[in-house]
């Protein structure tokens, strides 16, 4: 009986947490000031949080797409930031 109660509690907690994350993800928006930032500015601000800012010449445009995904999963930058930074590095 106790096991079922614990399981019920765990299921409710996970569902609640999942819903909370979904609501947070859907509801989150960047301010106009942040949205207006260019890829170059985001590159300068975010890459140096962990390492030196990379040279755009380091990788090919295709490779930057791959590196962009890898970096997003490490630094947890937003999708908009990744897209803008990668577009800047691909030029």
């Amino acid at each position: 009986m106790k096991i079922f109660q614990i399981r019920k509690l765990v299921i409710i907690s996970i569902t609640g947490l999942g819903l909370m994350i979904m609501v947070t993800i859907i509801g989150c928006k960047a301010s106009q000031q942040v949205s207006n930032k260019s890829g170059a500015q985001l590159w300068a601000e975010n890459c140096q949080r962990c390492h030196n800012t990379p040279s755009p010449a380091t990788f090919s445009p295709e490779q930057w797409e791959t590196v962009g995904l890898h970096m997003q999963s490490r630094a947890l930058i937003t999708d908009e930031e990744r897209t803008k930074i990668v577009d800047f590095l691909k030029q």
């Binding site: 989150c28 949080r49 999963s73």
Partner: protein, 419 residues
Amino acid sequence: MYLKRNSLTNYNLRNMKTIKILSGLALSMLIISPMANHLYAQDQAVDTTLANRVTELEIELSHKKTGEDHFMMAGLATFGFVSNSTTTTSGGISQKTTTNSFPDVDHFEFSPLFLWRHGDKFLLEFEPSFDGFSLGVNWADVSYFVAPGLILRAGYLVTPFGTYSKRLAAGWIDKLPTDPTGLADYPPTSDFGVEAEGGLPMGNMKMNYDISVTNGLQLLPDGELQSVGAVDNNKNKTVTARLGLLPLSNSSLEIGVSGMWGSVGDANSPYESARSQSYAADLNFVKSFSPILVNFKGQYNYTFVNNQNYINPSDSSVYTFDNKTTSGFAQISFRPTGSGNNLLKNLELAFRYGKYITPSKSTWGQNSDIIDVSLDYWFTWRTVFKIGFQSSNGTSTAIANSGDKIKSESLFAQFSIQL
């Protein structure tokens, strides 16, 4: 008669004209025909050359098509030299040992990173690593970029406990030639499991979350924790989670808190009820105060295992101790990136203070203070040469040799490059 003769002459003249025209035409045909044949052959040759060229271009273009799958290699290589002097004082007697290692065996690493991208939704990562002794794997996982702010991952992954292991440990990223003592690998952070993570905008701020469910840790008879590996030692899973906040719109500051909870005892063993709890706080601040770029990083770890009985390896007696481990570091580095001097702007000076306390009255108890300083030269954004010095002062709190002093000094020369 005259008229008849005249008409005959006219008739002959007309005939002559016709003959001339016909002869001209025949002659023209004779001349033009080979020329036409030649021109036709020429056209055919041009068409063939053009067709061949188009085929060549098509083949070339097909090679340049982006396709769905993309493979690339990155990774890193780190190697160097260390000269170490360690003095151990026990019962008033000191013993000094000195070593010189080339390459630096504690900080050698060759880790190629293989990345496969399938479209823009899937990323496969595999990083084998040779550390001078063995060939291991840092991570091997598959990520699925589900939606903005949500990435799912499965495989052998780095759990989200603090930020050092996941973001800062690579030799070409770390400002110092050493890892913070006791923090980079305790509790162990590479594990088999699943993970959900993402970065989210919040007006002028940002937040990120990272949560993993993995096989977890295993409690050893001396009270230490190690990664359990691919086969879990019990029915329970370990949950690790980190929440990060970037309160400033320029992303210069990040504050994070992490937790790791799970059962660590082997099933059907005396440690079946053992559970561990770990907590971490991390801080990252990077800002340019022209002309100097200031980089501050810090992390504090705390790991606790609930009350258990352990086996003393010296006499196999059963004993207990307060099994909690703390470690932490604070580091700051300065780089004059705004300097007009090329040599100067590639130099970086870094300091780190570290603290490492393992459980007193255990077989591995110690209390250490570690100071690191390093002067780095950046050849490129991802290639660095470091000259570092580390001083470590430790006092043993272990059950067998409590009070012993360990003083260690090391000089490092290290080169690290991203592949």
